[in-house]
Subunit: 706 residues, 2 copies
Amino acid sequence: MTTKNLLVELFVEELPPKALRKLGDAFAGVLADQLKAQGLTAADAVVTPFASPRRLAAHVTGVAAKAADKAVSQKLMPVSVGLDASGAPTPALLKRLAGLGADASAVAGLKRAMDGKAEALFFDSVQPGVELAEGLQKALHEAIAKLPIPKVMSYQLETDCELPGWSSVNFVRPAHGLVALHGADVVPVKALGLTAGNSTHGHRFEAAIDPVPLADADAYAATLARDGAVIASFAERKAEIARQLAAAAAEVGGGCQPIEDDALLDEVTALVERPNVLICEFEKQFLDVPQECLILTMKANQKYFPLLDAQGKLTNRFLVVSNIRPDDASAVIGGNERVVRPRLADAKFFFDQDRKKTLESRVPALSKVVYHNKLGTQGERMERVCAIAETIGLRLGGPELAARSLLAARLAKTDLVTDMVGEFPELQGIMGGYYARHDGLSDDIALAIEDHYKPRFAGDELPRTQTGVVVALADKLETLVGMFGIGNLPTGDKDPFALRRHALGVIRMLVEKDLPLALTELLSAAVPAFGDKISDATPALADFIYDRLAGGLREQGASAQEVDAVLALRPQRLADVAQRLQAVRAFAALPEAPALAAANKRIGNILKKSEGEGAAVNPALFVEPAEKDLYAAMQATVPAANAKFDAGDHTASLQALAALRTPVDAFFDGVMVNADDAALKANRLGLLKSLHEAMNRVADLSRLAA
Amino acid sequence: MTTKNLLVELFVEELPPKALRKLGDAFAGVLADQLKAQGLTAADAVVTPFASPRRLAAHVTGVAAKAADKAVSQKLMPVSVGLDASGAPTPALLKRLAGLGADASAVAGLKRAMDGKAEALFFDSVQPGVELAEGLQKALHEAIAKLPIPKVMSYQLETDCELPGWSSVNFVRPAHGLVALHGADVVPVKALGLTAGNSTHGHRFEAAIDPVPLADADAYAATLARDGAVIASFAERKAEIARQLAAAAAEVGGGCQPIEDDALLDEVTALVERPNVLICEFEKQFLDVPQECLILTMKANQKYFPLLDAQGKLTNRFLVVSNIRPDDASAVIGGNERVVRPRLADAKFFFDQDRKKTLESRVPALSKVVYHNKLGTQGERMERVCAIAETIGLRLGGPELAARSLLAARLAKTDLVTDMVGEFPELQGIMGGYYARHDGLSDDIALAIEDHYKPRFAGDELPRTQTGVVVALADKLETLVGMFGIGNLPTGDKDPFALRRHALGVIRMLVEKDLPLALTELLSAAVPAFGDKISDATPALADFIYDRLAGGLREQGASAQEVDAVLALRPQRLADVAQRLQAVRAFAALPEAPALAAANKRIGNILKKSEGEGAAVNPALFVEPAEKDLYAAMQATVPAANAKFDAGDHTASLQALAALRTPVDAFFDGVMVNADDAALKANRLGLLKSLHEAMNRVADLSRLAA
């Protein structure tokens, strides 16, 4: 069967730019999947998505005009049910065949094959392949229905109307054209009230002809580029913009580079069909304003690409990605420069106003900002972060660090009541750092204020200074302890206070900064700051944090069993968890491991049942050789294992314990723990208890048992 | 006339110890004054007061049995009123004489003397001297009535009753005996229902005889010592106790010294009649408790003298001043040791309990302590002190000092909610320091917490560290700015929040620590911390502080005029006020000073009237030689004076200006400022304005004008 390439395009009004790339990929992906599922394309068909502000399209290679017929083997029932003792069909079988359009004559042709433990009867038939028109109609319907549309709109159809009784359809934006070409042939499909044809429309202003006829499916991109002045491919358009941005920066010279922002590049790619990068500039006086403010204004509001110099400092040039290519671009350039000026002036005004007040003088205003009805104002929250930061600072570095952390914590939230952060919430922290320096505070304090929100997302950097780590920890702990303390836990997908993210932040700082802090103590230290506003929910919070830690460790490749063994002990210093995991993995690879893990589990059960009956071990009370041997082996092994553990070498510690395998096995073979003599029994339990303690310092080895 | 010594004793039940010395001095003092006023003693009479727990007495030398008769010359009226033109007595004179028991026959004997500007008539007569019994009765009545009695009690008289109609009297404690001896003679006086005799009572338990007869007035002290086992003199008893304390300390050895506490020494002197110092001890384990707590417990509750070793460290020995001298003192010693133990155990319990919580964890509790209904809780107050301390710290030392000051300010009040300070409020600050060190905070923070109440009284030391100064300043400014801001000003004697003391504390720190802070700015910096709780009353507060400063400077010997001249300028840096004063004094001593001060006053008035009419000086516009000369003299003088001022040499600056005296005088002699020509006038006013500015940089010299 010969195949041809297929091109489908839906031509619409301007699509939402932030979703465009996803819409294009989804449209092409679902369409191709549906064609493949119907046998209309081969497994190796190449799918090319297209997406521009005004069109979604897909090019699929090797599409058949009609799918191949398909042999189908259908299981009917077990032989014992379908045929009676004499081999004649039962009424049940005949009824079933009738349902498939066959009769008793088909019984002889049924195949037999093993299905599970029983032999079953199978009915073979041929299913005819679907026609492309029918298959594509279905695929197109699915592709449109499954678009990840942020917001649906309802609109009147243009033509009155091929779908009887329908006068409006729901789609993301009004659709105005449909192309469906199989090679050079139009495939007669319909969608959204439109009938497929072989011509489309080019650039709204700059197309050479309109409409733009397409010779065949493969001519789509080239024809649109030539006659329509449109780069239809999202990826190609994006690459072209990137190329032009780089070229424009090179033209400006001096090592300038446009800011790197892939999301912004995607967004402008979704806004233009014919990208044209232009160089603009603004008054140099605005460069007195922190460049984060200017960059944010230009990016967020104007979709401009500010230019940084070779040192990463903002210049007064920026790049605009225009959708048109006039011979004289000066009007476009001037227009953009005029538009950005009041924005920059606003930023400068906010910056000048804000610096007239110190951050300290803004502290009282925090008490007027509601944080949570049960946890009070931002002022009260600040107070608690202060208390926690002071306590952590004292533990991590002593009084000087405590004092610096307290000061930074006190001021960390004050930029929330500045004009600049009121306008650009994204600048919280950053502006606090600028204003702190302006108030005469040290870099240490300014950096801590700037960094205390970090890590803000997965993969974000951690605070750069010790003071910053302390305040960031305190800030996150305040949120976690407070929310858990009022029972405001995340459920399912709902985590409005980002407690999962905060827990991961705490974990990352403890682990990556190798902080000598015990988790339970750390959580408890945050509780008094709340007075009687909360109940102490630190056990639940600790579980939550260990759950997050476990998830992270499994993602990094640790097995659930290893993670379970280590975290079962609730290790207090999270920084050594990785090493414990490694030790457990090394131990699990030893030949002695399974036996020791099993023994350990058995010992745990025995001790649980004995409920603390064990006594201090008295060697004089040993009777059996096996218990004497075990005791001797422990004397030879445990001190060395403990020394390794105390030195932090968890792997060596566990490996030293492997020597106990034989005496432990021998003990269970040769010794009855539950002796009639109570003293004997207590002594044996005591021996097992000290063995159990020695074995489970790195991890709960019983969790490794099969 | 022969005189004898007098002894009066009032024997009573135990008198209030804290007032005893004052009662004794007042009793003897008033008694002797009254005797002298009635002419019963000579001007050089020696008065010896006695005071013991059970008696007030006075010994007065050279007391007459009867006062000498006294010639009295009484002014009647002017001669012109008393005698008519013919020299005959007027009816007015006769009426007046009749009033004095004389008649017209006395007119001839009237003396004439000048009285002011007129001649007056004087009538001479002889007033007979008072008898001792009568005079002493009156003196005794006064002496009893004028005792500075803290609390009067009313009690039934013992004998029924020599004062008809009286069955009870009011006195500090019930009186049981009265002695009044003139030499060996009893003076028949009465008081509080008692009739004077010549015998008294000795020590309640240890007198050799009872009653104790007194041979004569001079035998009083010796007889009481011998037969009554009582040291009657407060001063002698106090000296004896001091001697015994020193001897006991020497007996303990090792360089030990009892704590020095004159008020305590007075108090025990008022509690015993026969002092006997005993050495006791307590369990050494209590020495783990801060010695301030132990010393306070022993002193305040038990009136013991703790012993310090040669290094000033508390030992486990203490001295008890007993009132009795048994042969075997062991029961007394044991009793005192038993009594003190639970007190020390309490202190230890409080100390141990308190240390189980960090100061930081007590911060929320401050929000439950009401400070003032308009200014909120202690927690809110702490917040404000934090803000002010941070701001001052930043100005005085930068971010590190700001951070340390903030931390100290945050914790400075937390010891108020500890058990120890709850029991012993005198230990506030001191305990904060101990607990801060226990929490792992630095000495710097601990000292700042300890010292932030300083100076607590006139002459108290200032905080020892820079952080302490910052927090102490912030604490006092918070009180001052807050109380002024809600209009809670001290009136007359009422100053419940000790605003005067706080203002003096601020002044002392600014001056003695030579702090580079401008007063107005400092006060304003404290205002934002209050949010909208107060209105800004810093001008009134600044006046209040300058008033206190002025008072202090006058007390130190500066004249009101000098102080006025300097403070009229509202000098912002208080530390240089003393130097300005010195400069003003040196200037005032110059011969040129009066003329320059007067000229300065005159210039000030002219400028006030001209209301800023003056222009920048243009030398080309000068007409008169005198104005040219003044301008030339200023050119020669002012830059040098300004240079001296800027270098801080205020004296030299003012002295340089003295050279202007002659040209200034000549200017006013030869130049009409209010010239008809407006340009001329403006130029002259401009000259005077720059002269005025130059002359008044150190002080407002016009205030020195007569």
